[in-house]
Subunit: 115 residues, 2 copies
């Protein structure tokens, strides 16, 4: 009951339509639909020059970079990471992820399930 | 407060000493030490022919495969995945991860913080 084992490409790729996002797509790899109750695993890809919205919210992000070059901004602090980069964005911090490299940026981003 | 952005290799690589593990190492990429309160992100690497213990516990796993060929067993069901594989193991399921490929198996595994 609830076991899931699939290639990530089996999960639908959707546009991130939130205002302030540019060239960002998401796959909800593991979520409530899979009977997950505590946290959800998402895959993001961001085109060259694209970015996620600069925003804040009362939940954290745990991120692993698979591919590309990422500038992450968090409450005014900046850091640049490539493949294998690990990022923890605490809840309520203003943050975004920018693709500052050549080619696509790909990362996993885990968030709590809040409801 | 709590923002973290590092290459994964900056986080200590430790042996998995649990009985039944073979050739498995872990990095606690994001955990309580980083002020995470709800879930922890770990990196695993397993040598050719190695595996995690066949066990169960009252918490789930959300897994993303970065490299290698993995056989996952979950309550008797088996699945084989390679790079880009996504696995959800529900709480209390008996499971393990086996490296059945050539070369190293690498994956991210997220678990809830239970205490």
């Amino acid at each position: 009951m609830g076991f899931k084992a699939v290639p990530y490409t089996d999960v639908e790729l959707e546009n991130v339509t939130e205002e302030g996002a540019k060239g960002a797509k998401i796959r909800w790899l593991i979520s409530k639909k899979d009977q997950a109750t505590r946290f959800a695993m998402r895959y993001f890809e961001i085109t060259e020059g694209g970015h996620s919205p600069l925003h804040s919210h009362p939940w954290e992000h745990e991120v692993f970079l698979m591919k590309g070059k990422c500038k992450v901004v968090c409450d005014g602090e900046e850091s640049v990471l490539t493949e294998g980069g690990v990022i923890f964005v605490p809840e309520n911090a203003e943050h975004n992820f920018q693709n500052i490299g050549e080619g696509e940026l790909q990362f996993i981003c885990v968030v709590p399930i809040m409801d």
